[in-house]
Symmetry: C2
DNA sequence: AACCGGATTTATAACGTTTTAATTCTGTCA
DNA sequence: TGACAGAATTAAAACGTTATAAATCCGGTT
């Protein structure tokens, strides 16, 4: 009878160690146990040691729900992840970097889809309103990204992948896309190319401007012809990009140097060249940015530079940890440089 | 004075609607509000309507921490994700499928790294012990996967990507790798190839056995020579695979038909062929499985079949939802077939 | 010997839910 | 008129934590 009544407690409990069970085991009160585990100096050192031992013996782990309810802290980091387009391998490397940095910190990663076409603010509002996370990471940052504005207004910890043009500083990790574009132009010009072509991402993203500026100014400085392909972006389908490429090839003066910001674009360019009878190295050259090792095995070989997304994710998560711990946003920025070395990434 | 004391509540609250605030607003008790929102038939229909209206007006959303503490349900699904190796695009497509299926269900995805080299059981134990999720998804399933055993013992909801050889049924989604291997062999043989070669994943994974069986039996039936490359697996570094490939090419009777289970292997094979002076279509052919659209733009073209990982993730999440809702594991299995159609995946 | 102050400890009230057991309302029937 | 069953509501406890405010303890003074 009695056991039936007791049995109705919501969590079967079993024997999960809790502050209460530790209190009973050690003879101290729940409050003392709690403080001792937090290493509160008001608790006698000897007591703290005893409690720590008991906790270890019982394998005590604080209940996240209870702590969260009481403190309002979730111990969760949300990643707003674009699930439409991907830079090959982006998601994998990026996410791996994040989980790696968060390992052992007690924080876990929560993935929420971010659709560029829809309202990008909605998931953020949801997180803010219901305190669904202690911090946010996101990608594909826009020049005046509304998410950045909203999060700054609420003084909510976040790190963006990519800069913005807001004057107030905020934590970010970015790749130096301007430097990439300049390097790409320089290398192609060195090879004697003088009609350069570039396909940009959508205008809204900040890095699009960096790429444009780097490409245009380097090309002007070098005094070579150059074009930014119209009507198509990095996120266009492979088929659309292929069509645009073919159109370009059939011009009287087709480009002879291609700067490719993504792997898909690079492959499409490569196949468009092959399909139009042009020979790489003779009729044109390609310089591409890549995030995965596959280009080591693409033939003909093309020159590439590596964007380390694992490192990017790692750095972003580290910064977010600091920000959540209360650090001021000021110093928390990092810019990764194009990497020439990483040629034989396993 | 008084306001200072009131101000010490841990969550600033602000004006976040809660059961209590709804109770005050409507004049009903907290218990009634709770039941009304759950559509409990014991509450008068009129009352339920009033409460629903008030909740909607206030934009009430139940507090996850409180509900979790009370009920023990987390509303979280954990994905054990391999962060070492990746099938190109695997993570992105798979994760997208999962989040898509979970959209609007109130469940969120939590990503926890799974290192095949280390103890794969540890994250699972952690989740079970501390009730960190209501369900688990994982990949790279082994024939007698200890995670499956542990989860079944605890009657904890999960869906594996890949089958096991346990006799007790459990939910899974798998790709028909045996069919893939048979098709690959058949196509290569049709093209007149009679010395086939295959690089397998590590032996521990169930799908390795399916691939092996499909390959060996199809090759025997067709009466062609065949080999499974020794000393190297799908997860070996590109460099190691390349070396093995080159060794194979320099034999007296090099293979003339390659079955490639992953994209990296296919690209390495392609580059090894090119580097050794062999011409695709004349000296050898490749048949590959792919999970991303890039092969449309690889030249020379190779024949491929598509494994839809977005669909895989979607199905797995759907099944997990059913399982968490209490469905029996019996019917919850699904096997995806190799897809020939998906040639121009955007 | 009573007392004081700093060092330790503890009772207790939240945090926002769900749910058991009890209570209050209805209208009906004797 | 009063009792009563059924419908509708509610008080209160609990989930496991943290933190406020109050209560003990102890050695050293007066």
């Amino acid at each position: 009878m009695t056991r039936e009544i007791l049995d109705t407690s919501p969590a079967p409990n079993g024997d999960k160690p809790t502050l209460r069970s530790l209190a009973e085991a050690t003879g101290f009160s729940i409050a003392t146990i709690s403080r001792a585990l937090a290493d509160d100096p008001r608790i006698a050192t000897k007591t703290r040691a005893k409690v720590a031992a008991a906790a270890a013996a019982a394998g005590y782990v604080p209940d996240r729900a209870a702590r969260r309810l009481r403190t309002g802290r979730t111990q969760v980091v949300t990643l707003l992840l674009n699930t439409e387009h991907e830079f090959l391998g982006f998601t994998h490397e990026f996410l791996s970097g994040i989980t790696e940095a968060l390992r052992g910190t007690g924080y876990s990663v929560n993935v929420v889809p971010d659709h560029v076409g829809e309202d990008r603010l909605q998931p953020v509002r949801n997180i803010l309103r219901n305190h669904l996370a202690d911090g946010i990471l996101f990608t594909r940052t826009e020049a005046f990204d509304p998410r950045v504005r909203l999060l700054m207004e609420n003084d909510f910890p976040f790190v963006s992948h990519g800069r913005t043009e807001f004057t107030t500083p905020h934590p970010y990790v970015d790749f130096d896309n301007e430097a990439f574009a300049r390097i790409a132009v320089a290398r192609l010009v060195e090879r004697g190319r003088n009609r350069l072509s570039l396909i940009l991402p959508e205008d809204r993203f900040t890095f699009t401007q960096h790429l444009r500026y780097g490409f245009l100014s380097a090309a002007r400085e070098a005094g070579v012809d150059h074009e930014i392909v119209a009507g198509v972006t990095l996120d266009s389908s492979a088929a659309e990009i292929a069509t645009a490429m073919r159109d370009g090839r059939s011009s009287d003066t087709p480009p002879d140097g291609y700067v490719c910001v993504g792997e898909v674009t690079a492959l499409v360019t490569l196949s468009a060249l092959a399909d139009s009878g042009a020979v790489l190295g003779r009729d044109a050259d390609i310089f591409a940015k890549r995030a995965s090792p596959i280009f080591d095995n693409i033939r003909p070989r093309i020159e590439t530079v590596y964007e380390d997304l694992r490192e990017t994710g790692h750095k972003m998560a580290e910064m977010l940890l600091r920000r959540m711990a209360g650090d001021k946003p000021e110093g928390l920025t990092h810019i990764l440089m194009p990497d020439f070395e990483r040629l034989h990434h396993s």
